[in-house]
């Protein structure tokens, strides 16, 4: 059968914990970043975005942090729920042109 996700790093957390998913990017010209959530059999779903003139942006239960000095992006999920279990991807673009994806992290939330 299909082996989805076996090549991806995995973060396992307990329900109610806070989750932090990290992403490093290589293109210093990237000025726009997005975090996506992908559930099995579905396309990537937008979670939150941030432009390079910001270092933090908050949404509902999610926060994205951007450190341009070390070219690092993180996604924080507060009070993680079983429904948050999915694969999470960061992606970046320059000048709102093509979007380039990171390697992805599988989040597993245990009840």
């Amino acid at each position: 059968g299909e082996s989805v996700g076996l090549h991806l790093p995995t973060l396992s957390v307990q329900e109610g914990d806070n989750s932090i998913i990290n992403c490093a990017y290589s293109n210093s010209a990237s000025d726009y970043f997005i975090w996506y959530k992908q559930e099995s059999g579905k396309g990537p779903q937008f979670i939150i975005d941030i432009r390079s003139n910001m270092d933090k942006r908050q949404g509902q239960r999610v926060t994205v942090l951007l450190n341009k000095t070390v070219k690092h992006l993180s996604l924080q999920i507060a009070a993680t729920q079983p429904g948050d279990s999915a694969v999470y991807f960061c992606a970046g673009a320059t000048g709102f042109q093509k979007l380039v994806f990171g390697t992805g992290t599988r989040l597993l939330v245990s009840p």
């Binding site: 996700g5 726009y32 396309g43 975005d49 093509k98 994806f101 390697t103």
Partner: protein, 114 residues
């Protein structure tokens, strides 16, 4: 945000044949892209579909293998030609609407080549 309809959602094809995937958007969009997602991996950009001109392909992807059309601002097709089992992947359409942040994705086409 734009709503994308991608067809077919899945298919099983014989090696050596070709499959054309359609991407229909409910509004005019500035940019359309095609991605490939191999099993257990991230998304890799195949090409940017340009309206009225040839698509812009990424390194490792060529027009003969992945011909793309974009006749207008709401529709594009990707053809996977002369398929082999290595082409078994999920193929995804993505768009960015003019004046809008964010890139929206279709639900993908799951292709299996036997």
């Amino acid at each position: 945000s734009a709503v994308i309809s991608q067809k077919p959602s899945r298919d099983i094809c014989q090696r050596g044949t070709s499959l054309t995937i359609q991407c229909q958007v409910d509004s005019q969009v500035t940019m359309m892209f095609w991605y490939r997602q191999q099993p257990g991996q991230s998304l890799t950009l195949i090409a940017t579909a340009n309206q009225g001109s040839e698509a812009t392909y990424e390194s490792g992807f060529v027009i003969d293998k992945f011909p793309i059309s974009r006749p207008n601002l709401t529709f594009s097709t990707l053809t996977v030609s002369n398929m082999s089992p290595e082409d078994s992947s999920i193929y995804l359409c993505s768009v960015r609407a003019q004046g809008a942040d964010g890139y929206t994705f279709g639900s993908g086409t799951r292709l299996t080549v036997v």
